[in-house]
């Protein structure tokens, strides 16, 4: 179905009773767990931000050194996961985008993945001209760190790329570009 707003789909987290196992991944310990009755088969993965942290699989809450560490482990877990898992994520736009990409790559659908509203206002933006990624872009425009183009951030999130589209203001509409070059 056409999603006219084309934004990263986020909303308040609530446990999905249709799931049989639930995994909540969060970028920081202070981010709250989904609302509703806490299912028995529920695990929380938290980015601890401490290089000495190592996940302990016997605990209901496991800590990871970094978001990259958690996401790496998430991809591995989903590759061996069985049907019935529901995935919940809380963090900033970059973290949520990465979780969505990981879930999509594992064959999960939007009905099985729930993303909390990003904790910071900034968005992840790709320059569509040189593919440079920019994290935590709070404004509607920026100068591309890769090619220097003045980009305007469109309200179009690419689920495949995992970022919003940054388009050079000077790029002419299709059909109006100069010909003969």
């Amino acid at each position: 179905m056409l999603n006219a707003s084309s934004l990263l789909p986020v909303g308040p987290l609530r446990f999905d009773e249709g799931g049989r196992r639930h995994l909540f991944v969060r970028q920081a310990p202070q981010l709250s767990v989904p609302s509703g009755p806490v299912p028995t088969a529920m695990t929380t993965w938290t980015v601890g931000g401490d290089s000495r942290v190592l996940p302990d699989p016997s605990e209901h809450e496991q800590f990871f050194r970094s978001a990259a560490h958690l996401l790496d482990r998430l991809a591995w877990r989903l590759a061996t996961e069985r049907v019935g898992l529901r995935l919940y994520a809380a963090g900033d736009d970059t973290f949520l985008s990465a979780v969505a990409l990981t879930g999509d790559a594992a064959g999960m659908t939007g009905e099985e993945m729930y993303l909390a509203p990003p904790v910071q206002g900034g968005r992840r933006v790709i320059c569509i001209h040189c593919s440079t990624m920019h994290d935590d872009v709070a404004d509607e425009g920026l100068s591309c760190a890769g090619c220097g183009a003045v980009l305007s951030v469109r309200s179009h999130y690419s689920r495949r790329i995992g970022a919003y589209m940054g388009v050079a203001e000077s790029a002419p509409p299709v059909g109006t570009e100069e010909t003969g070059r």
Binding site: G18, R82, V83, G84, L85, G107, T109, E111
Partner: protein
């Protein structure tokens, strides 16, 4: 519809073989132009009959030859139906003329999924015979679980003899615990597709949801063999005609026989293309398309399978 309804693809039965006592396989050869390409999960509407009457019935297309000269279907001898399948089982011999009126796909393979679990019962295996050919070609992982009666096991075993035995499992005992184990062992990426009688699909759907399949990953094809019922009359508000629908006719057949260009596609209550507004009278809904609220409102009807609870219906035709 890929062809105008009035023409279609002329063809004849080329070969007939029994599959089980109630299932019969027909190979149908095109006699004019070749059949169009057919994607896995497609059905055709097949017109056939004798001097007395014509049936137009939808059947899943099991296979199409590479050169488009042949289509294969499997027809179940339906109890309490309007006699089309009984005619094919009784009179469907090589040489019988059959017109393929149109080919459509309401049950395509979800190509983006890498793993598929297919569940069928009885004649519901037919779309999956084409699925398995397509999935073999696309390199998709799948496993078919087919449910049959104990006395049919040998026949289905023979039907599936040339398939990878690691991808095909026959069951002659609908054991909920066993099905639950099978489904719960599927990877998170798995999509479930099912085809069979309503009771079978309700059972599989409930077990699938119970092990945590999300609704969007459960795909099904439900066809209704249109059943007969009490005769009724439809008054057509636009054309001013009145059409009688006999106990053995479908409303759609009766409209077509009266020369009305009524919309239609699947002729099995599965697609919704034949929906027509009801201006008065009470429809007897028998389709798989309308939502509960639409049924209760009673202001529309799917002419291919549904009938009337009142002696007359007035339609916006």
């Amino acid at each position: 519809m890929m062809m105008p309804r009035s023409t279609g693809y002329p063809a004849v039965i080329a070969d007939v073989a029994p599959v089980t006592p109630t299932l019969r396989r027909f190979d149908i050869r095109a006699t004019a132009q070749p059949f169009p390409p057919v994607s896995a999960g497609s059905h055709g509407v097949f017109a056939f009959g004798d001097a007395v009457r014509t049936w137009k019935n939808p059947y899943s297309i099991v296979a199409r030859s590479d050169d488009g000269s042949m289509l294969r279907i499997i027809v179940r001898l339906a109890q309490g139906s309007r006699g089309g399948s009984a005619f094919l089982h009784g009179q469907g011999r090589p040489g019988l003329e059959i017109t393929v009126l149109g080919i459509a796909n309401l049950f395509p393979v979800v190509r983006k999924a890498r793993r598929h679990i297919l569940l069928s019962a009885g004649v519901g295996i037919t779309p999956f015979l084409s699925y398995m050919d397509a999935m073999d070609g696309m390199g998709l992982a799948y496993c078919l679980h087919h449910y049959c009666r104990p006395e049919e096991r040998q026949a289905f075993h023979a039907l599936l003899a040339d398939r990878d035995p690691g991808r095909v499992v026959l069951h002659d005992d609908p054991d909920t615990g066993r099905l639950s184990e099978i489904l719960a062992a599927e990877p998170v990426s798995s999509r479930l597709s099912m085809c069979g009688p309503d009771g079978f699909m309700n059972w599989v759907g409930a077990v699938a949801r119970d092990v945590g399949f999300s609704p969007g990953k459960i795909h099904s094809e439900r066809f209704s063999a249109p059943e007969g019922g009490a005769a009724f009359r439809v008054d057509l508000a636009r054309s001013g005609l009145s059409v009688s629908v006999g106990p053995e006719d479908t409303l759609l057949d009766a409209l077509e026989a009266a020369g009305i260009e009524a919309p239609c596609l699947c002729r099995g209550g599965a697609c919704g293309a034949c929906r027509v507004a009801v201006l008065s009278g009470v429809p007897d809904h028998r389709d798989h398309v309308l939502a509960e609220a639409e049924r209760a409102a009673g202001d529309c009807i799917l002419t291919c399978v549904s009938r009337a609870r009142t002696a007359t219906l007035t339609l916006d035709l």
